[in-house]
Amino acid sequence: MRARLDASSGLLAVLLPALLFGLWWAATLDSPDGLIPQPQQIAVEIANLAGFGQGDDAFTGQLWINLLASAERVYGGFLLAAALALPLGLLIGQLPLVRRLMDSTLQLLRPVPVTAWQPLFLILFGLGAHTALLLVTLGCFYPILLNTVLGVRSVEPRLLEAAAMLGLSPTATFPKVVLPSALPGIFTGLRLGLGFAWVVIVVGEISGVRTGLGAMITDAREVSRTDVVIAGMIVIGLAGFVSDQMIRAISRHVLRWNPRQGGA
């Protein structure tokens, strides 16, 4: 029963992508040299980027170094953001004083998009990998922070009462009750943050760096290699998808006690 359900939901999951590829294939059927390349041309290009094809151009075999560079910045920026946003979120959620102190500043800065920060970061940190990494950090920061705060503040009062009634000291309440209660919120934030990191990295790599998937796409656009641009987009999508699956697997394990975790 369970297996059949998994199989059918797996089938459903690939239905829409297959349909989109079908449409794409049909739309470009008559124009092999049109503005938009055909899907099979993209497949060949991905193989070329990965170094598995017969091709020999500026992009041959360049996928891995660029993917690695982007992944380093994505995970580096994500970890840095988590290291900042988690403790801050816990403090803001738990201590009204910190909340009042930080709230206006954070809310004022929140609407400023990452793209608006980029010029300033370029001036401050110069062209290079630091800027891309810091943009990712900024992009991950708010989803992690806000969901952590939400998680801490959504602790059920009943559980605090239960803990007090069972003799738990007020100082032990935070690690024993508040933190576990906040974990679902924290994982939601981490998941959103990491997803957003893959969005931001491309913006961060469009100017000033020579490696990374964003840089690869920018280079390809400049030499009108639409096939490489689209191949790069697909690789970014896949990388983000794999990242998300990893964090979901971790979250399913850590939150196995949570009935709402099953299909999240």
Binding site: R158, E161, L166
Partner: protein, 276 residues
């Protein structure tokens, strides 16, 4: 049997009460001013006694229980346990909530061991205590299950076990079986009585079900709203196990129903006074 109970009863009278509620008023700050939840409440509970608080919603029975639990403080008056004022929740007064209040991230064993672990007992001892109570409530097969994997009745057994595992002398129960189906409720009522008889616990049990109160209690405290106060107390002098179909049981049920629903005179009089 009757003799044994009478002797026990005499001993209780000789003992100082374990809980005393003295001239307690409780007011809450509400949206449109103050809400008076309790007015001039006096109650004394003997060690080992099983007392049910019964009354319509808004009569303050849960507020009274929460005052004794230490979750609220009285606006006026005193709430005492063993002669000392109650100022905060504590392990000597275990609370069983209608919505269980189990920690969802802890297994059954860890939930039951929560209190002993909070006291800093060694890990092996915590586990031994938890396992003893898991066996007592018949959930050995579920020792490592999480609360969301349990039925309502199982969850409430765990909630009861965790306050017992924590050496509570008084167990405060706030409509603990109200969310359970009838069969499960009956089974848990029987289990609770067996537990109480074998442990010497003092139980304060809030309910709005007359039958449940008569089935369980040594004494029923009848409360009424507007504002919450104690109307009367009824001693249930029926032998246990009690037969819900027996004549005295049903007489008492009828009397209590009259008190709760059929005799609105005192409350109405109070209302008129207020309006004047």
């Amino acid at each position: 049997m009757a003799d044994r109970r009478r002797i026990a009863f005499t001993e209780r009278i000789a003992d100082a009460p374990i809980l005393r509620v003295e001239a307690v008023h409780k007011r809450f700050a509400g949206g449109a001013g103050e809400v008076v939840a309790l007015r001039a409440v006096n109650l004394s509970v003997a060690r080992g006694e099983f007392v049910c608080l019964i009354g319509a919603s808004g009569c303050g029975k849960s507020t009274l229980l929460r005052l004794i639990g230490g979750f609220e403080t009285p606006t006026e008056g005193h709430v005492l346990m063993d002669g000392r004022p109650i100022t905060a929740p504590g392990p000597e007064r275990g609370m069983v909530f209608q919505d269980y209040g189990l920690f969802p991230w802890l297994s059954v064993r860890q939930n039951i061991g929560f209190g002993p672990a909070a006291r800093g007992l060694p890990r092996a001892e915590v586990r031994a205590i938890a396992d003893r109570f898991i066996t007592m409530i018949g959930l050995s097969r579920f020792a490592d299950a999480y609360p969301h994997q349990l039925s309502g009745g199982m969850k409430q057994r765990v909630a009861i076990a965790r306050v017992l595992a924590n050496d509570a002398a008084v167990v405060l129960m706030d409509e603990p079986f109200g969310a359970l189906d009838a069969m499960t409720r009956e089974r848990l009522q029987t289990e609770l009585l067996t537990l109480w008889e074998s442990t010497g616990l003092t139980v304060l049990f809030v309910t709005h079900a007359i039958e449940e109160a008569i089935l369980l209690a040594d004494r029923i405290v009848v409360m009424a709203p507007g504002p919450g106060h104690i109307v009367t107390e009824v001693v249930v002098d029926l032998q246990r196990p009690r037969d819900v179909a027996s004549v005295p049981f049903n007489e008492m049920r009828r009397d209590l129903a009259l008190l709760l629903h059929g005799a609105p005179a005192p409350a109405a009089a109070a209302k008129v006074e207020e309006h004047v």
